[in-house]
Symmetry: C2
Subunit: 248 residues, 2 copies
DNA sequence: CGGTCTGTTGAAGGATTTCAACACTCGTGG
DNA sequence: CCACGAGTGTTGAAATCCTTCAACAGACCG
């Protein structure tokens, strides 16, 4: 490992132009839930969204806050977490550009059930949830798209539940790394398939329902066995096949 | 406890008339996802469903089977489970009349991700998933209803994930009992709020990600503390308030 | 260049599982 | 109608995976 570069993670120098009108339209047109919407409708819909910029580590919204808006990641990565009173955290999901979060609900009394944090510099589009519901009824194709996405998320959540219920910690970590690699992996000359996102041992522990210490021990072992490379806040997969075997 | 009646569970003597046309229409009109659909549309939609009857304990479909149909519980209770190769089971959900399961997907290659079993005598309506998708695009209000249900299920699944990650077994069991009581509870003169469904210690264990032995020990303790009544395949809540306190 | 955040490793302790043996209920067939 | 067997539930004791507690090392930031 060269001493010149401590983290192989891509440095994103974000200026305000990261949230340009062009990028917004580009993102909305590619967003899975607007697939099949024609350009004119898209421009119409775009008007109803507003953009916000967040630094790495900033809170986007808090658990138990009134849930009023639906949000879309334009650029950057977003982390969804839940917290206990005793200080335990659970990491529910990591989002990349094109994914939505926040609330679909129209009811006034509802609150966010998780806390959203920007894991990197991010640009977020948001829309009043009632306005989004109007879009849903106006453009049925959008409703069906969103439905498919929700079905996929339910599936993923139940997969996690299943794995948490049946697998020992080391296999859970292996699976989590595998999936993160699928979603966020970028080929790196030096280290292999790099998970392109700041990722601490605690993040991993909060995904696997274990402690930072245990996560650290498992990462150490995977490093020793030549399956992954890892450093401060980054992990890269050297031997994806072996990682998959481990998680079986 | 009287010796005359070993189980306080309601005996449902189901004959074929349990799946009458009247009951079908009645159920569809009350089903949450058809809320807001006018009677004529409803009759139209009803034609596309077909009814099937299952005995208690029968399999409705198996994990990994091609997922072709969406189903609706008309009467009875349905259990959704996943199985591991090593014989561990995870109980994903218990469904009551009005709830749907199966697949929303239209894609041919997909398979069911869980096994569905009738927990009691049941009547099930089913529809080809493609035909249901046609309904979704034809009646946007249905799509939005289904979306709300899926959002609720995702929420519930993430709640389970959170509890599994942060709570010790006894609190998890307490929460599960509380929720089952909310959903399936019926006031019983003798025992209190009776969970109206056959429910073994193993079922509970598979919901709480623990073993039958541990579930049994916890149920024994709750019985000793006067919080619940329980017997073979049934549980009734005596002190709901205390159960809620325990799960905090 | 000190302080904080992150990561590492060891050793003790604890919650839950595993293994084992047994009791009870219920349906079924002799 | 009773006996038997399968399915279900119970309880104890040993074993184990993982957490907790503790101490320390390196990296990054102002």
């Amino acid at each position: 490992m060269s001493k010149r570069r401590e983290t192989p993670l891509e440095k994103i120098f974000i200026e305000s132009h990261h949230c340009t009108i062009d990028l917004r339209l580009e993102m909305l047109s590619q967003a899975p839930f607007f697939k099949g919407l024609d350009p004119e409708m898209l421009r119409e819909v775009n008007k109803r969204f507003s953009a916000t910029h967040f630094e790495a580590g900033e809170m986007i919204y808090y658990e138990d806050e009134p849930a009023l808006r639906l949000r879309v990641v334009v650029s950057g990565k977003v982390k969804l977490m839940r917290h206990t009173e005793e200080g335990k955290d659970v990491l529910i999901d990591m989002l990349k550009p094109g994914e939505f979060f926040g609330t679909l609900s129209h009811l006034g009394g509802e609150v966010y059930s998780e806390t959203a944090t920007s894991q990197t510099h991010t640009c977020i589009l948001s829309i009043d949830s009632q306005a989004f519901r109007d879009i849903l009824t106006q453009y049925p194709v959008v409703a069906v798209n969103v439905l498919d996405i929700m079905a996929g998320r339910l599936q993923a959540s139940r997969d996690s539940l299943f794995e948490l219920s049946t697998l020992p910690v080391d296999q859970r970590i292996a699976r989590i790394l595998y999936r993160l690699a699928e979603k966020f992996g970028e080929q790196d000359d030096e280290f292999g398939l790099l998970i392109q996102m700041p990722l601490t041992r605690k993040d991993l522990a909060d995904m696997a329902a274990t402690t930072t210490e245990t996560a650290s021990r498992i990462i150490s072992r995977l490093k020793k066995d030549g399956i992954i490379h890892a450093g401060r806040q980054w992990i890269a997969i050297e031997d994806l096949q072996e990682l998959e075997n481990l998680s079986a």
